[in-house]
């Protein structure tokens, strides 16, 4: 199965990339754009058919490497069983 991890900066951490993209969008005439936040998507293919086990593993992966809890938040979705 495949786990998709969405990672974003915490709201308290300024995201200069997102801010630059927002400015460009506004310059292109999208005047209603208020803010842009950019994050990361990581797909992890797992050799397992047990969803609960996979959830546990992916959360451990996030804690140990994929996410830095000091600056980031994340959520995980599973794409196929």
């Amino acid at each position: 199965m495949k786990a998709r991890v969405h990672i974003f900066f915490k709201d308290s951490v300024f995201d200069p990339q997102g801010s630059t993209v927002a400015t460009s969008l506004q310059k292109l005439g999208f005047s209603k754009v208020k803010n842009v936040r950019m994050g990361k998507v990581i797909d992890v293919e797992i050799d397992s058919t047990f969803l609960e086990e996979a959830k546990r593993d992916v959360n451990k992966m996030c804690e140990k490497l994929l996410v830095n809890p000091v600056i980031e938040t994340y959520r995980v979705e599973f794409l196929e069983k």
Binding site: F9, S12, F14, P16, T20, L65, N68, V70, I71
Partner: protein
């Protein structure tokens, strides 16, 4: 004084550190590879040099922080051993949890490479005998040097004297102009500026760090 310098894949200031430590600071240097799991006990200082370890994949310092040698570094630091992370080394120490906070993309997105003035915020063993308010001139070269920490943690770090370096002027959007910190025990230090690039006749301010380390090592023995 015997110093270990760790090379990770993508480190590019390791040779500069080795040169400065051997030729300028007159230390004995042991080169260490990230895959090693050596006993580091006989070393007086371990340096994590600057560069782009693992191509800055995922987050700066994230991959290096889980490389095999870091278990040995943590054990060494737990026993009170001196660890200095410079630039990417600072990022690795934050990622590994040896230092609080994190380093992210500069506020203006740009890579900054220039000499800057650095203020010593608290008198501390890493810059002894210089006192608070003293200025050092050191080069910086980084794209991800904006230090972030939540305000409560900042208060704690400041109160305990762990914020030892601040940029005199805002360089990269770093919280409270933080350029370098220590852990609570003050045996682990991370700094974005490069003392190893300022240890020769052109600029000697980097030597002030190596001399302070020598003093700490002398005091321990």
């Amino acid at each position: 004084m015997k110093v270990g310098v760790i090379t990770f894949p993508g480190s590019n200031c390791d040779d500069d550190c080795i040169f400065a430590l051997e030729k300028n600071a007159e230390c004995e240097v042991e080169t260490l590879w990230h895959k090693d799991t050596p006993s580091l006990g006989e070393l007086d200082l371990i340096v994590l040099p600057g560069g782009f370890s693992y191509g800055d994949y995922l987050r700066t310092g994230a991959m290096a922080a889980v490389s095999p040698i870091m278990d040995s570094v943590k054990e060494y630091a737990d026993k009170g051993g001196l660890v200095l992370g410079i630039c990417n080394g600072f990022q690795i120490l934050c990622e590994s949890g040896l230092l609080p906070g994190a380093l992210v993309r500069n506020q203006n997105q740009g890579f900054v490479c220039k000499d800057i003035e650095l203020e010593i915020t608290h008198s501390n063993p890493w810059t002894s005998p210089l006192s608070a308010g003293a200025l050092l001139c050191l080069p910086i070269a980084h794209g991800e040097g904006r230090y972030v920490v939540d305000p409560e943690k900042y208060e704690e770090l400041d109160r305990k004297g762990q914020i030892i370096f601040r940029y005199k002027e805002d360089i990269n959007g770093s919280y409270q102009r933080i350029a370098g910190i220590t852990n609570e025990r003050m045996n682990v230090c991370g700094m974005m500026p490069h003392p190893e690039r300022a240890s020769d006749l052109r600029s000697r301010d980097g030597m002030k760090i190596w001399n302070a380390v020598r003093k700490m090592v002398g005091g321990k023995k």
